[in-house]
């Protein structure tokens, strides 16, 4: 589902009927012909084709105006999903609560690597630092959506479509830089968020690191019961420096 990029302003874009698609690799805006749009209306329910060069891999807008951004990174609670939702809301002139962000699931998003080093929401830091001026938070996170282009290349993804629509100026941001309630907290507090440690496969064993009670200890004995992780206190008896023993 790709078409030649088309330039149109944000209002036209949002007023257009049917499903609209935007690339997350820049300010590229793309409008599908109506027939195609209707066909694509079931996109959320369908198995996603996540070819990185296809624009709907990154953003979809359904006929009810709900925006879904697909972001190929996984954070560790930094709230990148909320920041990305803010950026998208501003660039599309929609309320932030209309934007949902899907990330960290390679069934649904391209693999854009980890989110370390602020790579999910960064870029102008170095440019700004070089110019010797202060970078606002808004500027900082507004670049999050342009960064993926480079990351995509690094990860072998093919998206390199550049659009002609102007990128919003920082001064025009309504949502970026303002406090927005984090979207990820409730699941963590209510024990519904999935963590890697919840993954359970048939016959799966768990390994664990066993540490001595004091520095300098050496393992004195490793018995079968401990080795099979039946005990909580560790997998080994320890010979402590100075000749004592501990288990």
């Amino acid at each position: 589902m790709s078409a030649a990029p088309d330039t149109l302003d944000r209002r036209q874009f949002l007023q257009g009927s049917g499903l609209l698609l935007v690339a997350a690799g820049g300010a590229t805006l793309l409008r599908l012909p109506e027939a195609q749009a209707q066909q694509a209306g079931t996109i959320a329910a369908a198995v996603r084709d996540i070819a990185p060069e296809q624009l709907d891999t990154w953003i979809t807008i359904d006929t009810a105006g709900r925006v879904t951004a697909f972001f190929g990174k996984m954070d560790m609670g930094q709230g990148v999903d909320t920041a990305v939702a803010q950026i998208v809301a501003d660039e599309l002139d929609v309320a932030v609560d209309r934007v949902s962000v899907v990330m960290g699931d390679t069934h649904l998003t391209p693999n854009q690597g980890g989110a370390s080093g602020s790579s999910a929401c960064r870029q102008r830091v170095s440019a700004g630092a070089a110019a010797g001026r202060t970078i606002t938070y808004g500027e900082l996170i507004a670049d999050g959506f342009r960064t993926p282009l480079q990351w995509n290349r690094q990860f072998g993804n093919g998206l390199a479509v550049r659009g002609a629509a102007p990128v919003k100026q920082v001064a025009d941001y309504q949502v970026v830089g303002k406090p927005v309630a984090r979207k990820d907290i409730a699941g963590k507090v209510l024990a519904t968020t999935e963590y890697c440690v919840h993954v359970s496969l048939p016959g799966m064993l768990h390994a664990r690191v066993v540490r001595p009670p004091v520095a300098g200890s050496v393992p004195a004995v490793v018995d079968e019961l401990h080795r099979r992780h039946r005990r909580s206190a560790g997998g080994a008896g320890w010979r402590l420096p100075g000749g004592g023993g501990a288990r």
Binding site: V189, A191, T193, H198, S232, G234
Partner: protein, 165 residues
Amino acid sequence: MAQFTLSVDGEARQVEAQPETPLLYVLRGQLGLKGPKFGCGFAQCGACTVIVNGAAARSCMLPVSAVQDQPIRTLDGLVKDGKPHLVQLAFIEEEAAQCGYCTNAWVMNVVALLERNSAPTKDQIRQELAGLKCRCGMHMAILRAVLRAAAQMRKTAGATTTGQA
């Protein structure tokens, strides 16, 4: 292997384990709970905290044989009839989590604390929670959440004593 009957979040659950198996392994591995987490396995972080007989306990060092027939409460069971506990609500309102891996520790210890003492001072809260670890550094937000939860629970104390929202 031996059979044990545990009382978990108000329900009798049958499990099969070696007597010395940590309660945490049984709760997660056999009962599929997601609240208590494995952090250190050495009673040093609190990620595995459950409430046993009203007191916060580190389930990673608690043999399953030691808690038979004692009421065990978990983070998973704090939501009742779709309603979160007031402590959970306060954590959400104060956004007192980053990765959330430690959140179980704080919420469960705070529930146990507030059931004992509905108006703890900041110092008492700090003291009570001093042994818990949060690598994301959410401590100040957590402190605010505890104060908020305590105030909310006092406000609703006339209506309910369970802390349910």
